[in-house]
Symmetry: C2
Subunit: 285 residues, 2 copies
C-alpha cells in the first residue's frame, strides 16, 4: 500500500493505474476510521481495480466554534485499517498541500445546502464541496464512495457532480450501526459512558418513525411529532432537528402521502458537547 | 470532423482518444469565430493528437443588460473554420444540455474576479468559471487554450484550475490584431464604419503606454494618466477603465517600479453601444 501526501504524485499514481485500464475507486475520509469507513473501502475493493482512500481533516468544513482542533487523528490505526481493507493508495495531505496560501476558489451548491446541516453549520457544505471537488480531481476515480450516514452530504456531492459534469459515479453505502443501533461515527469517541447510552435515542427515534410510517394512512406530521417527542423526552439530549423529508430534495413532505411514498428521517442532536446525526430511509404503508 | 451536442457522447469520444494514448486539447469558444480563435485551434493542432473546440454562447456569463440575445451566432461558418483548422470534434450543446432545470452549483474565484471586468460585469466570472469547469470535465483536455485578449479571464481560469487541482494545462495565446492594431473580437461585428475607426484608439493607447514604460524611470501613474488622456480625448469613446496592473494579481502597481518590472495595460471602453476590451503586456525600461 502506497501512502502519499503530494497531490501531484497521487494524481500520477492513479493516472498510471487508469492507463493500465483499471477501474479506479476513491473513498474520501477525514480519518478516525471505523467500520463504516471500512465498509466503503471493502465495497470499493470489490468493484474497482485500484482503490484510493483519502485521509484529510478538512479545516474549511468546520465552523469557528466546531471541533476541528479536537477532531480525532489516528493515522497509524487508520493506515492499518486501509491496508487490511486492501486499499492500494492512501492520500493523506497536509493542509498546506491542499490549500495554497492565496487559494480563492470555492464550489457552491445552492438550495440543497441551505437546509438541515447547512442551516445549522453555515459554510460547512461550501467546505465539503470544494474539498471533494479537489479530491476527485486528484484521485481521478471512476467511482467515489460515500456513507449514507452523512445523508445530505452525499446528496450535495451528487448534485455537484451532476451540475459540473464531473465524470464519476457516486456510490452511497449503508450506515453501519453498533449492536444497539447507534450509527457509527468518528465523533462517537467523544461520548462518555453515560452519553453513549443517551446517544442510542437517535436511532430508536428513527426506528419508531419507520414503524409509524409503515402503518396504513400514516401522516408525515404525526410521525415527525412522535419522533420529536421521543427525543425531547430523552434526558441529556438537546435536539437540533428531527424531520421527515423528500429523499431527493430534502424539502418537507406534503401533508398527505400515498402508500409506497419514500421519505428520509433525519435527526441532529447534541449529547453533552458532542453533535450527532443519523438518518433512515422510510417507506409509507 | 465530428459535431456533437451531447455532453456524455462528447466525453466518450475524448475519453476514447485518451485511451488510445492521444494528448487532448480543448479550445472553448462562444462561436462567431475569427482569426484569434483560429490561432488557438492551430496551436492546439500542433501540440495535441486530438483537438476539441467548444461552441456555446453561455447565458450565465451575460448580465441582464448585456448582449446575450444579439451575440452573433454563425454556426455554419464556425464549423467551416474548425474543419479548416483541423479540429477533430466540435462540442456545440444547447443551453438545456449544459444546464438542467434545477442546476444549482457554481464555481467561484474570489478577489481576482472583483476587479476590472468583474467590477463592471457583476456575476460575469461566476458564469465563466462554472461553464469552463463543466467544459473541462466534458472535454477532458490535457491542454486548454485561451486567448490573451480576455486577459483577466485566462488568469481567473488559471486560478480556478490551480485551486481545484483540475489536471489541465492552461495555454494562453497572443492577441491577434487587425492591420491597424484593433484586437480581433466577435463583438467587432457590431461596429459601424465610423465606430470601427474610433475603436482603434484602444490599441493605440496601449502602444503609447508601452512606449512610455520603456523609457528610463517611467512612473506607472504617469503612464496611466497619459493613456487615459488619449482615450478621454477620443470622440465617440466612453472609457470604463484604463489601468496598469500586476500581470499575475491584477492589483495596482507600486508608485515606483524597477527597471525590467512587468505589468499589463488593460482597457475597457464603449464605442457606440459596443463594449470593447484590450490589453498589452508591458515592461519597464
Amino acid at each position: 500500500m502506497l501512502v502519499e501526501s503530494c497531490p501531484q504524485k497521487t494524481w500520477q499514481h492513479v493516472t498510471a493505474a487508469r492507463q493500465r485500464g483499471l477501474l479506479t475507486g476513491c473513498v474520501p475520509t477525514m480519518g478516525a476510521l471505523h467500520q463504516g469507513h471500512v465498509s466503503l473501502m471493502q465495497r470499493a475493493r470489490t468493484e474497482c481495480g485500484y482503490v484510493t482512500a483519502t485521509i484529510f481533516v478538512n479545516p474549511t468544513q468546520f465552523g469557528p466554534q466546531e471541533d476541528f482542533s479536537k477532531y480525532p487523528r489516528t493515522l497509524q490505526a487508520d493506515l492499518q485499517l486501509c491496508e487490511q481493507a486492501g486499499v492500494d493508495l492512501v492520500f493523506t495531505p497536509q493542509a498546506d498541500q491542499m490549500y495554497v496560501a492565496d487559494a480563492e476558489t470555492t464550489v457552491q451548491v445552492g438550495r440543497l445546502t441551505t437546509v438541515l446541516e447547512g442551516a445549522h453549520r453555515p459554510g460547512h457544505f461550501d467546505g465539503v464541496t470544494t474539498v471533494v471537488a479537489k479530491l476527485l480531481m486528484i484521485t481521478q476515480p471512476h467511482k467515489a464512495y460515500f456513507g449514507q450516514k452523512d445523508f445530505q452530504q452525499q446528496l450535495v456531492v451528487r448534485r455537484m457532480v451532476r451540475d459540473l459534469n464531473i465524470p464519476v459515479e457516486i456510490v452511497t453505502c449503508p450506515i453501519i450501526r453498533e449492536p444497539d443501533g447507534l450509527a457509527m461515527s468518528s465523533r462517537n469517541r467523544y461520548l462518555s459512558v453515560a452519553e453513549r447510552q443517551t446517544a442510542v435515542a437517535l436511532s430508536r427515534a428513527l426506528r419508531l418513525a419507520a414503524d409509524l410510517c409503515s402503518q396504513p394512512a400514516a401522516v408525515p406530521a404525526e410521525v415527525e411529532r412522535q419522533m420529536r417527542q421521543m427525543l425531547l423526552q430523552t434526558p441529556g439530549l438537546e435536539l437540533q432537528y428531527a424531520v421527515l423529508a423528500d429523499p431527493d430534495t430534502l424539502q418537507p413532505l406534503p401533508e398527505r402521502v400515498l402508500s409506497g411514498a419514500r421519505a428520509v428521517g433525519l435527526i441532529a442532536a447534541r449529547v453533552g458537547s458532542t453533535r450527532l446525526i443519523d438518518n433512515l430511509l422510510l417507506s409509507f404503508g
